[in-house]
Amino acid sequence: MKKAHKKALSQFIAVAAMAGASSFALAADNIKIALAGPVTGPVAQYGDMQFTGAKMAIEQINAAGGVNGAQLEGVVFDDACDPKQAVAVANRIVNEEIQFVVGHLCSSSTQPASDIYEDEGILMVTAASTSPEITSRGYELVFRTIGLDSLQGPTAGKYIVEQVKPEKVAVIHDKQQYGEGIATAVRDVLIEGGIDVPVFEGITAGDKDFSALISKLRQSEVDFVYYGGYHPELGLILRQAAERGLDVGFMGPEGVGNSDISAIAGEASEGLLVTLPKAFDEDPKNAKLVEAFKAKNEDPSGPFVFPAYAAVQIIADGIKLAGSTDTEEVAEALRSNSFDTPTGVLSFDEKGDLKDFNFVVYEWHADATKTALTE
């Protein structure tokens, strides 16, 4: 009796899972890839970007003959960007014996779900979670095709060393995790590049008066300033620097790159350098792919569309290289090879992060537009 009851329950779970999961390519020996992310909830539009990119990749790989003779099959799971639901989704994926996951989207969902995947030997590639935490726990089967919050510093530092070539640089930050982290990374790259950094100090977020700091920068005769933090403080610094005749170049991370900085600093925001993730859909190499999205009436411009496409592609390429669907072998193949994807040539480090993810240096203009300075 007890056994029958258990069977009925598992059937019920299977039916429920089928109702929630929509399959869209059916064949006997398909390789299933779970696409996990928010279909509903407040950030569903970001989920759409991820699904759009991943589905396009599955379609194109299948059209080109599939993977080792098998077709890929994408199965969508909705975690609503809710950590609790993400764990439930992860358990369902385990139950359905799916080996590969593209997702999740929100770092807070990806983190608990990845615990389950790692334990159950499922390979996960996230195309959107940028928290450094996720790959810092020594997991073997966790990868990501998007940059980390902490990657911007080296990009900015390299650009300053190679392109701006200043003699003395001041590095200022707002003493917060994000800002100070990036500023420290920039300072290290600058010192390595032989540039003098006489001023490295923090300000208090929310401060309004930077006159003492600006006088100090004038006196120390720096010819370039890097700021790690957000736009309200940098806006005021730019404005007060212009009023006080501190005529040097400024640079900041993506946290300063929005239209508010032009509203605050006005003319003083002209010429500010900003690092932002690359707009993959504007890359001429991807013109054909962009056409394919537009032909299906889908928007290729979201930040996660191309990383999701790349996530599916590296799973397919990894299976091809490993010659099997054994996740440990595929993970090994991902670590030891590089992959030519629409987001560039990708290779992974020990942690499963991209060795380099392109942040692009933009020149900001007073009318809140920007022009790309690097590839």
């Binding site: 100090e201 929310g206 309004k208 003492a212 006088s215 100090k216 806006g235 404005r239």
Partner: protein, 308 residues
């Protein structure tokens, strides 16, 4: 070493500018404390409202085609001082007067509530994003060599010094020479006795709040124009700094508030200039603790005398 001298002058000027505005706000704290012995924690928000009204007034005047700068600025001062004074009066009437005579802790809680209410009111009405205004007064004078480091003093900083000085002089004249000022001083001396002698103490207390709010409005207009950016949260930090200045100088004493404000501003600028911006608040508050250790009633404060 003339260059280091000019650097010192520059940081001194930076500190005095910030300090003057701390002083203007600190007077609001100190006057209210001097009379009813209560700390009006909503005072920082009154300053913030003063800034918002100044921005609105300047935008409205510009909309009517008035572009003559002095008129624009004087207009902003007048409108902001009147409306902010009305706020000051209303706050006292609504949140403090009904609670007077009870435990001293109760109006304090009411003040904190008022502060949260005002901050959220502005946030809902104006949005929580920064509002920016173009720089109205540009330029300044440089002191020192052309080719090396020179101290510069912007016209806006000069206006801040001038307006602070004029306001302080007028306030001192009012307190020391006028009948109302004498009533204020009497209230500060002994509230109950003053009431017995036939002075409307409720009116005097309301007047104190109005004067404090008007001075906060002056600071709001000046700092709004100086920095060009405001948001609903500026009142909190400004209020905290001004309160510190008031305690440093001796709470209850008007010259003490001015001295405390200037001292705090200069200490901050010197720390940021010679040491690091990171330690600016640490040093400023350490100074406060040191002063209170050796002079518990502040630099110019009178020691508390038990009234019999």
């Amino acid at each position: 070493m003339p260059e280091s001298l000019f650097y010192f002058i520059q940081q001194l000027l930076n500190g005095l500018t910030v300090g003057s505005t701390y002083a203007l706000i600190a007077i609001g704290y100190t006057m209210v404390y001097g009379i009813i012995g209560m700390i009006n924690f909503a005072h920082g928000e009154v300053y913030m409202i003063g800034s918002y009204i100044a921005f609105t007034a300047i935008a409205a005047l510009a909309l009517f085609g008035i572009e003559f700068l002095p008129l624009l600025i004087i207009g902003a001062f007048i409108v902001s001082m009147i409306v902010t004074s009305a706020y000051g009066y209303s706050i006292e009437r609504v949140a403090y007067r009904p609670l007077r005579g009870g435990n001293r802790l109760i109006p304090l809680i009411s003040a904190i509530g008022m502060s949260i209410f005002l901050q959220n009111l502005v946030r809902l009405a104006q949005g929580s994003r920064d509002i920016a205004m173009p720089t109205l007064i540009t330029g300044g004078v440089s002191i020192g060599p052309e080719d090396a480091f020179n101290a510069n003093l912007s016209y806006m900083q000069m206006i801040i010094f001038a307006v602070t000085l004029i306001t302080m002089t007028l306030l001192t004249l009012f307190i020391t020479r006028s009948r109302m000022g004498r009533a204020c001083r009497a209230c500060a001396e002994d509230l109950k006795m003053t009431n017995l002698l036939g002075i409307n103490t409720n009116g005097i207390i309301a007047l104190t709040f109005v004067i404090g709010a008007a001075l906060a409005a002056v600071a709001g207009v000046l700092l709004g124009m100086y920095y060009g950016v405001i948001n609903p949260y500026i009142g909190f930090m400004a209020g905290l700094k001004a309160f510190t200045a008031a305690v440093l100088g001796g709470i209850g004493s008007i010259p003490g508030a001015v001295l405390g404000g200037l001292l705090l501003g200069v200490t901050e600028a010197m720390t940021a200039g010679y040491f690091s911006s990171e330690y600016k608040d640490v040093v400023a508050f350490s100074l406060l603790i040191l002063v209170l250790l050796f002079r518990p009633s502040g630099i110019l404060g009178r020691p508390e005398v038990e009234k019999v």
